[in-house]
């Protein structure tokens, strides 16, 4: 490798080391310390006194996560909510991506633009807008009551339903784009060949289009599922008190309880949980690239 190639590659590596690896090591370190009323609010791992180097590794934080079922429930509920939201995203995004990929080139660019356009506004503002739409005297309830369909507002805000709306809404482009790229690559002659061999249009879709877009579905699902598990803003603003998600627990540990060591342990365990799908995804991608 030449000096030029090395320096080009070193830039992203340097970036990742500085802003991902170093903070991660710090969090990892804090997860083994004890909470203290100090600044910073935790004990040091290494202490030096009387010519003795003491290493204080406190694994109690990790045990603590399993003694209080709040954490286990929060992990499970995060994974469940993220998984269901991912499936809804997939169902909603597939027809969108399919239509865009089939559209004429001029229309295609306009439709793609419409998918990306909402992300030009702040994420926070867009989620906040949903509060106004979903709340008891919000847009939907007022409209339904005015039409006389309901006479009591339906409670939508501060429910899991609202969290699904938020996640699906916010992460839809991350599902649409990889699916679109995948469907664009699909060789049209394969569809014609299937029709030629007697497959009706829906059968062509089920036997050719759908299996061949598996890579796109997996890529999109990972891009939605992984950030959705740790999502904080959406459950906090739309989910209310009854929605339990690990992102919220993390926030509370850090900022309400000021228990940095436990919060760090929560973060490390979440990462370990996500490592499994990420590894599977990478292995699948490597296999796809080989063939």
């Amino acid at each position: 490798m030449s000096w030029g190639q090395r320096s080009v590659i070193s830039v992203p590596y340097l970036w990742l080391t500085l802003f991902f690896l170093v903070p991660f090591v710090i969090v990892f370190k804090i997860s083994f310390s004890e909470m203290a009323y100090a600044i910073p609010p935790y004990t040091e791992l290494l202490s030096w006194a009387d010519q003795q180097l003491t290493v204080n590794l406190n694994i109690g934080n990790y045990f603590y996560l399993f003694t209080d079922d709040l954490y286990v429930r929060a992990y499970l509920s995060s994974i469940r909510i993220a998984a269901i939201a991912t499936v809804i995203c997939l169902i909603v995004a597939y027809p969108i991506a399919y239509t865009i990929a089939r559209a004429r080139p001029a229309t295609r660019n306009a439709l793609l633009m419409l998918v990306i356009l909402p992300s030009w506004t702040s994420f926070l503002i867009r989620i906040y807008a949903w509060v106004g739409i979903l709340k008891n005297n919000g847009l939907i309830n007022n409209l339904l009551m005015w039409l006389g369909i309901i006479d009591q507002p339906i409670a939508m805000l501060n429910t899991e339903f609202a969290v699904y709306i938020g996640i699906v809404y916010a992460y839809l482009p991350f599902m649409v784009l990889p699916l679109y790229t995948n469907l664009m690559k699909l060789d049209k002659s394969l569809l014609e060949a299937a029709a030629d061999l007697g497959a009706a249009p829906w059968k062509v879709f089920m036997t050719i289009t759908l299996p061949l877009s598996k890579a796109g579905m997996i890529a999109g699902s990972m891009l939605v599922f992984i950030p959705a598990v740790g999502e904080f803003v959406i459950p906090d603003m739309l989910g209310g008190a009854e929605t339990l998600m690990i992102g919220k627990v993390l926030w509370q540990e850090f900022f309400n309880n000021r228990d940095w060591p436990v919060a760090s342990a929560v973060a490390i365990v979440m990462l370990l949980l996500l490592l499994l799908p990420i590894t599977l995804f990478h292995r699948y991608q490597a296999r796809e690239l080989e063939s």
């Binding site: 030629d196 061999l197 061949l212």
Partner: protein, 366 residues
């Protein structure tokens, strides 16, 4: 060749317009049962559009297509008794060879799995691919993929088999081998076949009859030798093989021979039989290079000869093509077989005489 004169495929006055522009213009063809028929033409001549209309991927703007007496013009592709072998083969990459071949059979409810398995192994035997049944398409060579594609398109026993540039994806050496192999398989099955190709050699090797297409129209239909020896237009003559064409004026008209004069030639051209044109008509006269003999001395004839200087020689091993420049500046091609290794060959800048018999020249009216 197993063919009767019963028409399997009838194309009646079929036209196809793409945003107002005609890709196919009022084409009518009748293709016999068991026949291998080639649509031959350059790119953009409408041959592929016509084939896609037979498969049902495009609908004719006008006219009708009949298969076995039934009008199929409005039937969607998946219900037509027609199967196609695609130029890129379009094998399903996520299925094995066996699953690819079975795909068509599985679309019909009337087969049980055992029957499908038997048919698939029979078809793979036919194309000598039994040992590759469990491979994926990307693990096969070009020739093997083509065999699988052929087996897949024959699986449903179509009434008409369509081949889109069947050898387009193969290299030259494999091409000539596969041409004969594909014809053998098609004839063994006895299916009526329509193929599209831009390669005249491929059409002449594989097809019983050829239709030459140009700008959406059919220029000529005939057997390979009819098309080659009796072209009816300049375009056909030039498209199939090499040819010398002289612009000529009809000067003498008799029932059993005619004479023409060309500004390029000093001697008149004589052709057998009469010509269906009045005296003074401007026509083209086509002479194939292999019908022209070359000598160093003036031939002892009054008609059908010319003289010039050898400007270029293309040595092709078995034969050579000599490019002879006439006084008028026109270049004439003549072919000579290299049957004597020690022959004192004609070389560059040699003055030579070319002559031909009165059965060699073809008069072209258009």
């Amino acid at each position: 060749m197993a063919q009767s004169n019963q028409a399997m495929l009838e194309i009646r006055q079929v036209s196809k317009l793409f945003s107002g522009v005609a890709a196919v213009k009022e084409v009518s063809l009748s293709i016999n049962k068991g026949e291998i028929f080639a649509l031959l033409g350059g790119s953009g001549c409408g041959k592929t559009t016509l084939l896609r209309m037979l498969a049902g991927f495009e609908n004719p703007s006008a006219g009708a297509i009949f298969i076995d007496g039934e009008d199929i013009s409005q039937i969607p592709p998946h219900k037509r008794p027609v199967n196609m072998m695609f130029q890129s083969y379009a094998l399903f990459p996520h299925m094995t060879v066996a699953q690819n071949v079975a795909f068509g059979l599985k679309q019909e409810k009337r087969y049980i799995n055992k029957e499908i398995d038997d048919k698939v192994s029979e078809l793979l035997g036919l194309v000598r691919m039994q040992d590759f049944a469990q491979r994926k398409p990307d693990q096969l060579s070009g020739g093997q993929r083509q065999r699988v594609a052929l087996a897949r398109s024959l699986a449903k026993q179509p009434k008409v088999l369509l081949l889109d540039e069947p050898m387009g994806a193969l290299d030259k050496k494999l091409r000539s081998q596969m041409q004969l192999e594909v014809v053998d398989i098609i004839e063994a099955v006895g299916v009526t076949c329509v193929m599209v190709t831009h390669d005249q050699e491929e059409a002449m090797t594989m097809a019983d009859r050829i239709s030459v297409m140009h700008e959406g129209e059919i220029m000529q239909v005939g057997t390979p030798s009819e098309i080659y020896e009796f072209p009816n237009s300049r375009h056909t003559a030039e498209f199939i093989g090499s040819v010398n064409i002289f612009d000529a004026t009809l000067t003498e008209l008799n029932p059993d021979y005619s004479r023409l004069s060309s500004t390029d030639l000093t001697a008149p051209i004589q052709v057998e039989a009469g010509i269906n044109a009045p005296l003074g008509a401007q026509v083209g006269v086509a002479i194939r290079p292999e019908k022209i003999a070359m000598s160093r001395t003036q031939p002892n004839v009054t008609d059908n000869w010319l003289t010039g200087v050898v400007e270029d020689i293309a040595y092709l091993g078995g034969h050579s093509v000599y490019y002879v420049k006439l006084a008028s500046g026109k270049r004439v091609m003549a072919m000579g077989t290299n049957n004597d290794r020690h022959e004192q060959k004609v070389t560059w800048q040699d003055p030579v005489y070319l002559h031909w018999s009165n059965t060699s020249a073809v008069v072209l009216y258009q």
